[in-house]
Every structure is written in structure tokens, then in C-alpha cells.
């Protein structure tokens, strides 16, 4: 009997074993390597020479580009996640209505999500090109503009486009998370509220939002992580150019590693990004644990 209870204690860990092994081997091992590299001297060709203390971090912090990149990364994450969440929420509200063709629209909303980011980025790069891009052609044919417009005159314009593409591909995910939340809300809540004479906004804030809080939190947390680390959009559109003004941490460290031959510094940037995300996750965990306690 005693033996059995000991095994019982062990059981949950056994259940989690395959998952944990998979993650430990495939993710933890590379993470350890990155930490190691961030504190090693690495030659331009990529040979790892040995421990060099905090020299990589020092070099990263001393670079102006890094600070600008950090700022970009925050703007990028906040703008993309923020707008996607708001737009995705609105789209979900609309898709939750009953109207003809709802099924088709729902399928269409999935398109950007089902297409690989590389392809999305390439097509948008092709669209916004001022010389042969499709946007100018179509706007000129429609008579909206007279002559070709240069949509990307400088770094800020490029970055704005990149944010737009980021939003474009992130909205579907939010939409479907919110939609799931919306559909699990019992209609009786609304009926009751309507009897009380509640208007649209009151229903929104007092019923809808509180009830889909969970879905929104999940999509926001996952999005923050994904968008923060997002690579293909910016890399395909600008590679961080002009003059390294449109980097986020992910593209910056890629360029450091594979173009500038500074893998050590690139690893240091990875670690810095990780610390930032951990910090955010910490805040989230504290908040969600508190919420869970309240729920109980």
C-alpha cells in the first residue's frame, strides 16, 4: 500500500516525462549553448575560443544601434500586439454576428495566418515597391493617385509598413481566440441585460470583456512572445536597413551573427531579449496567480 502511494506521487511526473524530455533536449540544450556563447569570445568565422566574461555584453551596451533597436523592439511589440488585439477583437465581434456568408468570411480571415510569413513578406515587399509595385499600379488605374508614390521614403516609413504587415498576420490569431471566448458566452446573459435596458457599451464592458478575459490574456501573452521574437517580416522587407534603423532584437542579432561576424555579441543580445521577456512573464505570472486565487 505504502509503495503504491509513493508511485502515485511519482505518477504526474511520469505523465509529463515525454513532453519534458522533448523540450529539455530540443530547447534547453540550445538555450544553454546560447548562454555559453554569450560569455565566450567567438571569431568572425565562428570559431568559439573561450570565456571572456562580460565583454560581449559590454560591447552590445556600448553600441548606439543596440539602444535604437531595443526601442524599435518595444514599439514593434506594443504596436503590433496592441493593434492586432483591438482589430482582432472587433473582427471577432463582427464574425460573431449572424449574417449571410459568415462561413466564407471566417475562412477568409484565416488566410493571412495560413500563409507562411516569408511568403507574406515577399508579397508585401512586391506590393509596396514604388517602381513596379502593385499598390501604385492599382491606385493609379483607379484614379486615386496621379503619379507613382514612393511608399517607403525612409526608415520610419519602412518600419510603419513592417508594423502593418505584423498586424495583418497577427489579427487572425486574436480573432479566433476571442471568437472562441465569445461563443462560450451564454446568450441568457445578454437577454437579461437587455431586459435591464443595458446598451451596447454597457453590455460590452460588463458582460463581454470580463467573460472573454481569459481568451484575450492567452492570445496577448502568446502574441507578445511571438511578435517580440518575430524575424521573417523585417528580415525580408528591410534586413534592418536603412542604416540599421528598422531592426528589432531578432533581426539585429541575426545580422550581428551572420553578416558582421559577431556571434558572441549576437548571443548576448539573445540573452538580453530573454531577460526582458522573462521579466514580462514574471509580471504576468504574479498577476495570473493572483487572479486564479481570486477565482477560487
Amino acid at each position: 500500500m505504502k509503495k503504491n502511494s509513493g508511485l502515485k506521487k511519482l505518477a504526474p511526473y511520469v505523465w509529463m516525462l515525454p513532453s519534458m524530455i522533448l523540450m529539455a533536449v530540443m530547447i534547453l540544450v540550445p538555450i544553454v549553448t546560447v548562454f555559453q556563447m554569450s560569455m565566450s569570445q567567438i571569431t568572425k568565422a565562428g570559431v568559439i575560443k573561450g570565456f571572456n566574461g562580460g565583454a560581449n555584453f559590454k560591447a552590445v551596451f556600448a553600441s548606439n544601434t543596440f539602444w535604437h533597436t531595443l526601442q524599435n523592439t518595444l514599439v514593434w511589440t506594443v504596436v503590433v500586439v496592441g493593434f492586432s488585439t483591438v482589430i482582432g477583437f472587433i473582427v471577432a465581434m463582427v464574425l460573431n454576428q449572424n449574417f449571410r456568408g459568415r462561413k466564407i468570411v471566417r475562412a477568409i480571415v484565416v488566410f493571412p495566418w495560413a500563409t507562411s510569413l516569408i511568403i507574406q513578406s515577399v508579397i508585401w515587399k512586391y506590393i509596396i515597391n514604388a517602381d513596379y509595385g502593385s499598390l501604385n499600379v492599382i491606385l493609379m488605374k483607379l484614379g486615386i493617385i496621379k503619379s507613382a508614390v514612393n511608399w517607403t521614403p525612409g526608415a520610419n516609413a519602412y518600419f510603419a509598413w513592417e508594423c502593418w504587415i505584423g498586424i495583418f498576420v497577427t489579427v487572425p490569431f486574436v480573432t479566433f481566440c476571442v471568437l472562441s471566448g465569445l461563443q462560450s458566452i451564454d446568450d441568457t446573459y445578454y437577454e437579461a441585460a437587455e431586459i435591464d435596458g443595458a446598451g451596447f457599451w454597457r453590455k460590452l464592458f460588463e458582460i463581454t470583456l470580463p467573460l472573454i478575459r481569459q481568451s484575450l490574456t492567452v492570445s496577448t501573452v502568446l502574441n507578445i512572445i511571438y511578435v517580440f521574437n518575430s524575424f521573417p517580416i523585417i528580415w525580408t522587407i528591410t534586413k534592418g536597413d536603412p542604416a540599421d534603423r528598422t531592426h528589432t532584437l531578432a533581426t539585429y542579432l541575426y545580422k550581428l551573427s551572420f553578416y558582421s561576424g559577431r556571434s558572441g555579441q549576437a548571443a548576448a543580445v539573445s540573452v538580453i531579449g530573454f531577460v526582458i521577456l522573462c521579466f514580462c512573464a514574471g509580471i504576468y505570472m504574479i498577476l495570473s496567480l493572483r487572479a486564479e486565487k481570486e477565482d477560487q
Binding site: M16, L28, P30, T217
Partner: protein
């Protein structure tokens, strides 16, 4: 009368919104499609047109012989399908434990699972390559499956745990009393009930793996082992960019995912309804 008018305006506004939404979303695909059907010479012509001057449907056929596109497709299906299976098969027991059992370090595990998502593959590239070299899995589709499965583990566990939490454990208890073991209860009772949530997870993982690029790019150097996202680069090569082939292939690469999605849309919405993404 007044109420009807208000309803009508509401309806019109709704349709307007939906139409604008669809136009914006479909626009890149429209461009992709029309460009894919253009002749190469039209790509940079002085007088650009929206539609091809001459629809060159043969582009959609030529790609299959211009590069081993079919092979790339099969590789993608294999990798995404395999990663989905592994991710789900590892994820279900873990999510089950996390939703049904009390044990020490549960929160820590959940935290670790989220943390594992915080390094994007691009950040870990060298580490991953090193690991795969040690495991002798460079240029190996199975290696890519395991990686994709691992990077989607957190996602799978989260979604599955959420689904399981919404299902009352009473049914399983009953099954256990009926003589089912824990595994039996899981397989016979919980899984069928959680099916919609599991389908949701399947789709999420499948799409993520289908679209993965950076790891496949560095790990798969043998031409015949490349998935479509990497293989497509042959049209984006050194001397010229074959936009028409690039986009034709891209369309083909997008279609299966969308069809797959349409097939299970019903399940998906139901799955989401059952609180599939409840954290």
C-alpha cells in the same frame, strides 16, 4: 418603423465592414494570383497592368518541373504532420497531468513551459545546429519534426490543459469505477469529449510547423529534403527573381492549409467554444 431603419443601417454597416475586411485580406492574394499568371516580361514593364496582359496559366504547370516542388510539398506535409503528431502525443499526457493531478512544482512546470517559448528558433540557431550535429540529425526530416514538436509543445500543453480543465472529471471517475484504468479513462472518456479542443491544437501546431522557416533553412541543405518554405527560395535566387514562379508556388503552398482549415472549421469553432484556449 424606426427600429427597422436602425436595423437596416446596422446591417449595411456590418456588410460594409465585412467587405472592406475581405478586400484588405484578399488583396495580397489577388496580387499573388495575378502576378503568378503573368509572363516574366510583364513584371517590370514600363506600362504596368493590374491583370496580366496575357494569362499565362502554364506558369502553374511549369513550376513543377522547374524545381522539385512536389518533393518540397511532401517534405512539408511529412514534417508538419509528424510534428503535429509528436506534439499532441507528448502534450496530451502532460496536459492531463497538469489539469487532473496535484503535485509539487506544478506552477514551476507551467512557468518553464512558457519560458521555453521565449527563445525564437532564430535566436537559438547555432545551439540547435550544434545539438542536431551531435544527434546526427542534420539534413534529417525526423530531426526537423522533433524540433518543431518541441517548439510547439508549450502551445499544445496550454491549449490542451485549457480544454481538459473545462471538462468535469466526474465522467472519468465513473469510468474508473467501471474498471477502466487511468489510461483507459483518458482514452475512452476524456479524449472523445475533448476532441474539438484537440483539433484546435492540431491545427495550430500544424500551421506553425508548416510555416517554419529558419530552422529548416539551416538544417536542411540537401535539396530533396527541403520543405516548401525553404525550397521556394530557388525562385528567389542569385541572378533573377522569378516572381511568377515564386507566387505560383506560394499559392500552392497556401491552399492546402486553407483547405485543411475549411475541412475542420466546424470542429474548430466548436473546439474554441468549449473553451479550447482557456488558460
Amino acid at each position: 418603423m424606426k427600429k427597422n431603419k436602425k436595423e437596416l443601417i446596422k446591417k449595411i454597416a456590418l456588410y460594409l465592414f465585412v467587405i472592406v475586411l475581405c478586400v484588405v485580406i484578399l488583396y495580397p492574394y489577388f496580387v499573388m494570383f495575378t502576378t503568378a499568371a503573368k509572363d516574366r516580361s510583364e513584371m517590370y514593364a514600363l506600362e504596368m497592368t493590374v491583370l496580366p496582359l496575357k494569362w499565362k496559366w502554364s506558369n502553374f504547370i511549369e513550376i513543377w518541373s522547374a524545381a522539385p516542388v512536389l518533393r518540397y510539398f511532401l517534405n512539408s506535409v511529412f514534417v508538419a504532420g509528424g510534428a503535429t503528431c509528436v506534439a499532441i502525443l507528448c502534450g496530451i499526457p502532460a496536459a492531463y497531468a497538469m489539469s487532473r493531478m496535484q503535485f509539487k512544482g506544478k506552477t514551476v512546470f507551467l512557468g518553464l513551459v512558457i519560458m521555453s517559448q521565449m527563445f525564437a528558433p532564430v535566436v537559438l540557431l547555432v545551439g540547435i545546429y550544434k545539438l542536431m550535429t551531435t544527434l546526427k540529425m542534420v539534413n534529417n526530416l525526423v530531426g526537423l519534426i522533433l524540433l518543431n514538436a518541441a517548439f510547439n509543445q508549450a502551445f499544445a500543453i496550454w491549449l490542451l490543459r485549457g480544454t481538459f480543465l473545462t471538462i468535469s472529471p466526474e465522467m472519468e471517475q465513473a469510468a474508473k469505477i467501471d474498471g477502466c484504468g487511468m489510461v483507459g479513462a483518458l482514452v475512452r472518456v476524456l479524449l472523445p469529449m475533448a476532441a474539438p479542443g484537440i483539433v484546435t491544437t492540431l491545427i495550430f501546431v500544424f500551421i506553425n510547423s508548416w510555416n517554419e522557416y529558419t530552422m529548416a533553412l539551416t538544417l536542411m541543405s540537401t535539396d530533396t529534403l527541403k520543405p516548401i518554405t525553404v525550397g521556394i527560395n530557388v525562385f528567389y535566387g542569385f541572378n533573377m527573381i522569378q516572381w511568377q514562379y515564386l507566387f505560383a508556388t506560394s499559392l500552392f503552398a497556401t491552399v492546402p492549409v486553407i483547405i485543411l482549415f475549411l475541412c475542420i472549421e466546424k470542429h474548430l469553432v466548436a473546439g474554441l467554444t468549449s473553451g479550447g484556449v482557456k488558460g
